[in-house]
Amino acid sequence: MTSGPHERTPPERGDGAAERTPEPEAETARERFGPLTLLRTRKADGRALLLFSHEEAEV
């Protein structure tokens, strides 16, 4: 459910970048966009999945 009127979400957990190595057959690429790193990959059914984070990228 959504937070109440004065309730603030505690500090984000899991703020690290994606920790799991994508499936071997998935095409992946990392690039920078503004202050963020973008990891491009695909889900098992072929749909695009983009993960934006502050993890340093090798580009």
């Binding site: 459910m1 959504t2 937070s3 109440g4 009127p5 004065h6 309730e7 603030r8 979400t9 500090p11 984000e12 957990r13 899991g14 703020d15 690290g16 970048a17 994606a18 920790e19 799991r20 994508p22 966009f33 503004g34 202050p35 963020l36 973008l38 889900k43 098992a44 749909r47 695009a48 999945l49 983009l50 993960l51 934006f52 984070s53 502050h54």
Partner: protein
């Protein structure tokens, strides 16, 4: 694949996406498809144990290539929370994510208009509670941005620039002001607590914004969202829509062009007219296209200002 049919009576497209009838509907917390995937658990839409902001193709798309796009933007890997409750840095990051998607989707030949939005609350049809928004890439120019272009013609220039000038001059409906962003209840608000968040300078889209402007936009949007929650002391339902320049179709100029039209602003359409009562689109709104409001924008602006101050 969706089907488009043109309604010749109204002069507008209707989208038939019948596969969406079976989309995930208010799953229990343990089966949220927008949560991260727990090691050893069932795979969600995001097969990682943690993430910051995730974007993926909607499993039940209203549009898909080569006839547009439908994406889901997940703001956080935390199930509970809201846009207004995100850490400020995360909200600022979200502005960059929106910018990335506007640029990438807008560059596609099959997309004429990129619309970033968030539906919040079951009152506006939310089917998943995890904090998230959506992006539609329309393969045509929809009626609302088309009407905004017509307003530019009628007013002899950028309509949002002119309307912002009028609101700043009047002052009665202003809610929030910063160096880069202004929020107000518009002079002709259709919804009781409708608010427009407008860039002070003429910025056709997120692409033309300086980093500081993106930060200012995020701050104003969050201040408003928290004020909304404080208004009736409850999570406040709304539809939040980012209005930007069309990316194709007649007259659309590329980013950077001095002739480029459109003015980045974010409109909120909250369905509540009191703490318990919803505004329904009934006879006049649906049959004539004319909103009849029970409240005056100048009066709702007063209580919204107070709510924003309480939430600050």
């Amino acid at each position: 694949m969706s089907e488009l049919r043109f309604d010749d009576l109204r002069g507008e497209e209707v989208v038939y996406a019948i596969h969406r009838q079976d989309r995930t509907f208010l799953p229990d917390r343990e089966h949220c498809p927008l949560d991260p995937t727990v090691p050893g658990g069932a795979e969600t839409e995001i097969p990682f144990p943690s993430f910051e902001i995730a974007v993926f193709d909607n499993r039940f798309p209203a549009f898909e290539a080569p006839g547009g796009a439908a994406e889901v933007v997940v703001y956080t890997d935390r199930h509970d929370g809201s846009f207004g409750g995100l850490a400020p840095g995360r909200a600022e990051d979200l502005m960059w994510v929106w910018r990335n998607r506007y640029a990438e989707l807008g560059a596609r030949e099959d997309i004429a208009y990129v619309m970033i939005f968030e539906n919040r609350g079951v009152e506006v049809g939310v089917t998943l509670h995890h904090p998230h928004g959506q992006i539609y890439g329309y393969p045509f120019l929809p009626p609302v941005p088309a009407a905004e272009w017509a307003s530019d013609e009628r007013l002899g220039g950028c309509a949002p620039c002119e309307l912002l000038r009028r609101e700043l001059t009047d002052g009665a409906r202003l809610l929030l002001q910063s160096e880069d962003v202004v929020a107000y209840v518009p002079h002709a608000a259709r919804w009781a607590y409708e608010v427009h968040v407008v860039m002070r300078r003429h910025r056709p889209s997120l692409l033309e914004c300086e980093p500081g402007e993106l930060r200012g936009l995020a701050q104003t949007l969050q201040s408003l969202a928290r004020g909304y929650d404080a208004l009736f002391e409850r999570p406040f339902p709304y539809v939040m829509v980012v209005h930007q320049a069309p990316t194709a179709d007649a007259g659309a100029d590329p980013p950077g062009s001095p002739r480029r039209r459109g003015h980045l602003h974010v409109e909120f359409y909250p369905p509540l007219r009191t703490a318990e009562k919803l505004k329904f689109l009934a006879g006049s709104e649906q049959g004539a296209g004319t909103f009849i409001s029970d409240t005056l924008p100048e009066e709702t602006a007063v209580v919204l200002r107070e709510a924003i101050a309480r939430a600050a």
